[in-house]
């Protein structure tokens, strides 16, 4: 049974459809990467999966259980974590408090998970008493990912985790994503750095105009001349 199985998903904002029947499935131990041009509906698809916008058609299953249009806090309970692209930390809360909020529904495991997150992102331990709003972009992204991981999700949704980061941090985040996946967490992420992201992807989804254009393994998509010409800049 796939971890996430989305079939013919339709949805959008204010009655206007952005997603026109998108299919997307990943297994429990896989990294899925969504790429495509601006306005293709990449982030919208993540938001649709996480219940942040109204799904008007199609089905979404998590471990075989229908989840479309469930409230985000229910989805967190069911094992989904979401890291938005922007405004993904609580700026006035300290790093530690930010992470604690991730474990809001599981306060009993908060302490154990905090230790693991600090181990995973050592810079966060040093800054744990600092307000998250004062951190650099890369460190904020770590806080945001740490916050989502605190709830021990089975599926982590990342919306452009490397947007606006320096190459050094970008590589760091990609390495972390691989490690998170190595620990048994399924990852589905939207990425602008398509080549780098597809290189670590088990599944790649190329979207355009709210529809699937190509779906294959990351390597196969990278090798496909059609994909390269249309979506990866030659």
């Amino acid at each position: 049974m796939p971890l996430l199985d989305a079939r013919a998903v339709q949805g959008g904002y204010g009655g206007m459809n952005i997603l026109n029947g998108v299919d997307m499935a990943i297994e429990a131990d896989e990294i899925g990467v969504i790429v495509g041009p601006n306005g293709a509906g990449k982030s919208t698809m993540l938001k649709a999966i996480f219940g942040l916008l109204n799904v008007t058609g199609g089905d979404i299953f998590l471990h075989g259980k229908p989840i479309q249009n469930l409230a985000p806090n229910r989805l967190v309970e069911l094992g989904m974590g979401f890291v938005p692209q922007e405004h993904n930390v609580f700026p006035s809360l300290t790093v530690k408090e930010n992470l604690e909020m991730g474990a809001f529904l599981k306060p009993s495991s908060s302490r154990r998970m905090l230790a693991r997150i600090y181990e995973f992102f050592p810079p966060l331990y040093e800054k744990r008493h600092q307000p998250a709003g004062e951190l650099s972009g890369g460190q904020r992204q770590m806080v945001a990912m740490g916050r989502a991981l605190m709830a021990e999700p089975k599926l982590l949704l990342l919306d452009e985790p490397t947007a606006g980061l320096s190459p050094k941090y970008m590589n760091e985040i990609f390495d972390r994503v691989k490690e998170i996946n190595g620990a048994g967490v399924g990852v589905l992420m939207v990425e602008q750095n398509a080549r780098q992201a597809l290189a670590i992807a088990d599944r790649g989804f190329v979207l355009a105009a709210g529809q699937n254009r190509f779906t294959d393994t990351g390597q196969a998509l990278l090798a496909d001349p059609d994909v390269a010409r249309s979506f990866l800049g030659g």
Partner: protein, 334 residues
């Protein structure tokens, strides 16, 4: 030296009393704004409701406090806090939540809260009448006159029993609030929701529950502020309504959305009001003999007359907004 005692009585004590009440009131305003992003005009009438509950309970059981030696009103306060917290949640469920569900603009919520103000005022007048009533039904309001052990000082420092309770409860409320917001899971979740409601939801925080907790806290604090104000003077149905605007000024001066800013703002506004109406001529009287003869000391040297006290908070408000638009503690911009 008598002039100094006069200063203590009329500025230090009076300012702390006004400041404490403004502070507790402003915290409620700021908490509602930080969680629900609207200016809650019915806050003052929630304060009156709390005081009215105390009045009702004290009238029913006037001797309840005598057994343990505290005013009955103080004994009834915890119950009034619970009842006002309940009222706040009911008001939210009945009036504000349906509007929130429609995603209305903040101004609609503000107007709705004005409606709630009128409802509450009407109901309280209906049951309590329009006159003043003392919360000391069967108790005597103790007035402490502390003679200073300094030679030549004839005037005592005067402080009343409700004022002492007010100071004690203000300190307790501030410490309690700090502990709640910085140490407890719910308090941190409240701050998180104030920072970023969408991310709070994405973290699994049940924002409806946080809203309910906020109203309970706001109602409870309103009951404390309203009761202590009514104990200090007398209960009247429009007593708290008359300080609604200074309380808003305090919340804005402190930085909207910042609970500790609201406390600071409360004291800034409270002391500014007291200092503005204080007759400074009294302090100059001891130096009368040293003044040049052409300078005649006028009898009254207050900045504004007592009847114009209400303009002082607005003067400070405008000054602070010009000098630092987000308030002392860098709050949100309304």
């Amino acid at each position: 030296m008598n002039e100094l005692v006069f200063f203590i009585n009329n500025v230090v004590i009076a300012g702390s009393v006004t400041g404490s009440i403004y502070a507790i009131g402003a915290v409620g305003i700021t908490l509602v704004f930080s969680i629900m992003r609207f200016a809650h005009f019915a806050h003052a009438d929630m304060m009156t409701f709390g005081a009215f509950m105390v009045l009702l309970l004290t009238t029913l059981f006037p001797q309840a406090g005598q057994a343990i030696g505290v005013p009955t009103a103080i004994v009834m306060l915890p119950l009034a806090i619970v009842l006002t917290a309940l009222l706040a949640v009911i008001i939210d469920r009945t009036f504000y939540r349906p509007l929130r569900a429609h995603g209305v603009k903040p101004i609609v919520m503000v107007i709705a809260s004005l409606g709630v103000t009128l409802i509450l005022q009407g109901l309280i007048r209906l049951f309590a009448g329009t006159g003043g009533q003392s919360l000391y039904v069967d108790d005597r309001k103790e007035i402490f006159r502390l003679a200073l052990p300094i030679e030549g000082v004839r005037m005592p420092v005067v402080i009343t029993e409700p004022q002492l309770y007010l100071f004690a409860l203000t300190i307790l409320a501030v410490i309690g609030l700090h502990f709640f917001l910085s140490r407890t899971r719910l308090g941190k979740a409240m701050r998180a929701m104030s920072d970023n409601p969408d991310l709070a939801r994405a973290s699994g925080i049940n924002t409806n529950m946080i809203v309910a907790v906020t109203w309970m806290l706001v109602g409870g604090l309103a009951a404390i502020a309203g009761t202590l104000l009514a104990m200090d003077v007398t209960f009247k149905p429009d007593l708290s309504f008359h300080i609604l605007l200074p309380i808003f000024a305090a919340a804005i001066v402190g930085g909207v959305g910042q609970p500790f800013g609201a406390i600071a703002g409360g004291f800034v506004v409270g002391f500014a009001e007291t200092l503005a109406v204080f007759n400074w001529s009294v302090l100059l009287r001891p130096f009368r003999d040293n003044l040049p003869t052409w300078l005649e000391l006028p009898g009254n040297l207050a900045f504004v007359g007592t009847e114009y006290k209400i303009v002082v908070p607005f003067f400070i408000l405008v000054a602070i907004l010009v000098w630092r638009p987000t308030g002392i503690f860098k709050g949100k911009v309304i």
